[in-house]
Amino acid sequence: MTRRRRLALCLLVAAIYALHQDVWFWRTARPLLFGFLPIGLAYHAAYSLAAALLMWLLVKLAWPSHLE
């Protein structure tokens, strides 16, 4: 893995970590996704999906195959 790619992935992980702190939806429940899911909860459901996507990227681009 090149140094530039490693840096890009580290920054991406840091950005996703920072996005957990979603202060912008702190005091509001609306809009309700599907009419019942508060936006703060819907955001963190989407965050879990984003985490899965990030893991897919890490596995694809930075798998430590030299360990095997």
Partner: protein, 544 residues
Amino acid sequence: MIPAIVVFLYLGIVIYIGVFAFRRAALHQGAEDFFLAGRSLGSFVFLFSLFGTNMTAFTILGSSGHAFHNGIVTYGLLSSSSALIIPLTLFLIGTRVWALGKKHGFMTPVEMYRHRWETSHIGTVICVLQAFLLVPYIVIGVMGGGTTLATISGGRVPYWAGGAVVALAVMTYVFFGGMRGTAWVNTFQTLLFLSFGAAAVAVIGSGMGGFREAAEAMLASPATSPLLTRERVSPLFFFSYTFIPLSTIAFPHISIFCLTARRMVQFRKTVILYPLCILAIWMPCVFLGVMANRATDIPQIRQKIEARRALGADGARMTPAERDQLRGKMAADDVVLLLLERYAPLWLAGLLGAAIMAAVMASDSQILALSTMFTEDIFAHYGGKARFGEAAQVHTGRLFVVAVTIVAYTIALKAPQTIFDLAVQYGFSGYAALSPLLVAALYWRGSTKWGALASTLWSAAAVIAVAVFQHLVPAPAPGPPVVVWAAAGLDVLARTPGGTAVLGLLPVVPMTLVSALLMVVVSRATAKPSAATIEQYFPPQPKQ
């Protein structure tokens, strides 16, 4: 009674799985086979079993109970941070632990630490602390089994008998099946969890007349609308919780489990799908817990809401004992159970009972981990294996499983649960504070055994200090915390209604950061392991 019958059927199935695993392994009963399933688990079992191993009674019961009183913040605090941190630590640390285990034959993390830092007794100190922090989880598991079986049988099965039945079932399949049996049972349990969540949401939603109306009604009421936002929680407190999932990889039963994969490729699917499993299981539990606030036609739920209201309104004028009494009435771990009793058909209530039992029985891998640690880090390390042979090591491991189960059951009958709830609460922080050991061993050439010892002793001291502090300063009523130490205009140490705050953060943050700092400072000041040993962990990288 039907739910209880389903649960007994479930217990029969898991015992059968354990015995089946025993028969499957009868031809090759070495220590690696019993304690690590012969390092042979495939992708499917590895993913679902690892996930199941990390799911406890708190997943279904505790998360919905927490969400009932605290609202949607529960998912952000406990789940979405785990969805990022746990698979990331499996990717960065789990794969390396697996590779080193395969290369050197390690069966526990302490074995790796001893080799990596060329130490013996410091490894024993780490092992003792790990065991000390793990025991309360096993006791809580037995207690949960007794309570759950008593509840779903309508009191026909008393607490002592329920605890005994669960302890016996877990002991049987761990005793016979070892890691293979435990992994298969955990896989079965996880599939049960996954099927439970979707069915429960659909049935309860339909029974409540749809969630849209319930959500709108909650928003219209000043008492319940904050539960659909996070306005009652400070962003700093919310941030603190992202440190808690660091504990997962440091738990011995998780790091030992990383050694069971057949090949490293088994980690790939686990790392990618882990966040989705968290979403599938935690989201229904949290959402149902919040929505339970609208189920005021259920008398027990109405009582909990009234107790919460009384504590919020008059708590400041009450004595600590009166507040504790109200908190007892507010205990909400049974809200999902109550919703299902009210809205679900019997078959689903039975499935729920089995799913809850599955959650409660997560203590299986912890019992096995303790047994592995005892036989490998103590018995084998201090000459038992060389003297008595590998077969004796496996027999010792099995006897240890029996002994731990009996001790846990005896304690569960006599000790009050609150003590162990507290111990479990700070177990997470303690293991998070031990995570720098893994990072330093695997990623830093300059780490030393003295740095590891300093981190370990700090973690132990910090856990004890927080427990003593919370014992001495009673929890205040909901509202502002009791500031015990302020300096330079900052609240350095405070007692909050739910625990302790250090500079507005959970104790886990300073515990982990100071542990990492000690590792760095003390390692820099002390002698490194030999170059030959370091070379085995940091071989020269091939050029790109």
